[in-house]
């Protein structure tokens, strides 16, 4: 203990006599406070810190809510090049209050299987993130039969069996698919397989069997959608498409990847979105330039001041052409809640930053 006697705190510790702790010692904090501070540690740091003191040993696992199993952690868990997850699982068993486990950084199906098997150890567990793309059909089938009724989020990009898996997951809230047609049955009546989603991501391509009425059906059955992420390659349908997006009044986040050319300006569409979806907080625009596009059309950002609640804008401009920095002229009229601007640029745009700086 530190000897700075002139600066001491008196803390009643458990049922012992009051003890004196130096002001600059973490020992001055009681269990509740200490547990709260330690709740921001990573799993790896927790394990390393277990032997700091008896208080830490007691608290370091008790308040673990979210765990990410990193590749780094797994590589330390390796014996002679052979992965075994016993040690991680043993640590996790010490954490009774885990709410979510994220296994995505590792492509190890054994650890995921073990967690599913032992899931009753964590009474609060309500979220498990894992990859299953690499797993065989039999394992996937077995899993989805066993836990499909509990699955709330699913990324089916790159899978051909999405329709079959969707029918096993009635509780879905978040879904990513390659194509909108993948959420409809292949039968003639085209039944919608995904209803009441909160988050949805998909791609629209002309070469697929897209027809606008499919998106109409989807919108009608997903009125509480919070976020939508969509890639539209043929931009001649963009106006038609965005008009339908405005029928989603709860929308908080919209990500749009599209071509921009002079013929189909997305500025007017975005303005309509701004008015009809007043809760929008995040907007992502990824622009694919066609040969006809001279530069970032000045009016693309015109709709931003109308998005009153907008906090974040991600702008990804896949171009070697110079950006017309006048697009940022209106920045002083941007929403006052706006906090994050993220720009993906291919060229050093000194003028652009100058423009942003003078307008902030």
């Amino acid at each position: 203990m530190d000897t700075q006697e002139e600066m001491v705190d008196v803390v009643v510790h458990d049922n012992q006599m009051p003890q004196m702790y130096a002001k600059d010692s973490l020992d001055r904090f009681g269990d509740d406070m200490c547990e709260h501070i330690l709740s921001y540690l990573t799993l790896e740091d927790r394990i390393r810190c277990e032997c700091v003191s008896k208080q830490w040993q007691r608290l370091v696992y008790s308040n673990v809510r979210h765990i990410t199993i990193t590749a780094h952690l797994m590589s330390r868990n390796e014996s002679d090049g052979y992965f075994y997850d016993k040690k991680i699982v043993a640590i996790m068993k010490k954490c009774p209050n885990i709410e979510s486990i994220d296994c995505r950084p590792v492509w190890n199906c054994r650890i995921v299987e073990t967690i599913i098997e032992l899931r009753d150890n964590w009474r609060r567990l309500r979220r498990l993130d894992c990859h299953f793309l690499a797993f065989g059909k039999d394992i996937v089938d077995y899993w989805f039969r066993a836990i499909g009724s509990m699955v709330t989020e699913l990324d089916l990009k790159g899978r051909t069996d999405s329709r079959r898996l969707l029918s096993l997951c009635p509780q879905l809230l978040r879904l990513n698919v390659d194509s909108l047609s993948h959420v409809f049955t292949e039968s003639v009546d085209k039944q919608l397989l995904a209803k009441n989603l909160r988050h949805f991501g998909f791609a629209l391509r002309l070469d697929t069997d897209f027809d606008v009425s499919m998106f109409d059906t989807f919108v009608a059955h997903n009125q509480s959608l919070r976020s939508l992420s969509v890639t539209i390659i043929p931009n001649n349908i963009i106006t038609e498409f965005v008009t339908r997006v405005t029928r989603l009044p709860q929308l908080r986040e919209l990500k749009l990847k599209t071509e921009v050319n002079t013929e189909y300006s997305i500025s007017d569409c975005l303005r309509e979105v701004a008015i009809k979806c007043p809760k929008l907080k995040k907007l992502g625009l990824e622009v694919i330039y066609t040969t006809q596009t001279p530069q970032l059309s000045v009016d693309v950002l015109n709709a931003i001041p109308v998005m009153k609640r907008l906090k974040r804008l991600d702008l990804n401009l896949n171009t070697f052409r110079r950006i017309d920095w006048r697009a940022f002229h209106g920045m002083n009229e941007w929403p006052k809640r706006f906090t994050h601007l993220s720009l993906h640029l291919w060229l050093n745009e000194y003028n652009l930053f100058q423009q942003i700086e003078t307008n902030l």
Partner: protein
């Protein structure tokens, strides 16, 4: 770039007997009106008194980020808010609330009082926990004197300012990152109450985590 760690200020408002407000307010105009009201109220300055007797002035809305202060103001049952400004300073009876700590706390709430409230439908708790501190918060909390830092965290906890406690906790955890037990003990001045045998046993069990990269 701030505002990612705001505590839910509407909670504080509701607790202090203001017009009932909840997160489900749909109408943008109503939100605007509430915001204007918060802005107006923040122009009213109230005085807070540290344990050491120092008096610090702070906007009313900012001060209400402390649930404890909000409750105390509520208990006054003052309908004319401007009268609050002329009242005696509010005493903060905890020895962690030193002059230095209270000065810093007032600086923090004055910077964060108009943080947007958390949208439980959209903002993910896990994401928020993992999000890095803002540049402003990092500079604010990077305090050389550890005793002062701990005072601020303890005082913020006493005053029930969740956002600031979170900033302090994240800062300490950032400092712990990658350090060994011994280094952590040394840095945070923690007394090792394990016997060498006990410590060696835990160490052996967790040996794999210390393996060199």
């Amino acid at each position: 770039m701030n505002g990612e760690y705001s505590l839910d200020t509407t909670e504080g408002m509701a607790a202090s007997g203001d017009p009932p407000t909840n997160n489900a307010v749909d109408d943008y105009d109503a939100e605007e009106a509430l915001e204007r009201q918060r802005e107006e109220e923040n122009k009213i300055k109230i005085k807070l008194k540290s344990f050491e007797g120092g008096v610090y002035e702070c906007g009313l809305t900012a001060a209400k980020m402390s649930v404890m202060v909000a409750n105390m103001l509520d208990a006054l049952q003052e309908t004319d808010l401007t009268k609050i400004a002329t009242r005696e300073p509010i005493p903060l009876q905890n020895d962690a609330v030193t002059n230095k700590a209270l000065e810093k706390i007032v600086e923090w709430v004055d910077h964060h009082w108009d943080d947007p409230p958390i949208d439980p439908d959209f903002d993910d708790e896990k994401e928020r926990r993992n999000e890095e501190l803002s540049h402003w918060d990092k500079q604010f909390i990077d305090i050389a004197d550890q005793g002062e830092l701990f005072d601020i965290i303890a005082a913020a906890n006493f005053m029930d300012i969740k956002g600031l406690v979170e900033v302090g906790a994240k800062h300490i955890c950032n400092k712990i990152k990658g350090k060994s037990c011994t280094e952590v003990r040394e840095m945070l001045k923690i007394h090792n109450d394990f016997t060498p045998e006990e410590e060696a046993a835990i160490h052996k069990e967790n040996e794999w985590i210390y393996a060199k990269d």
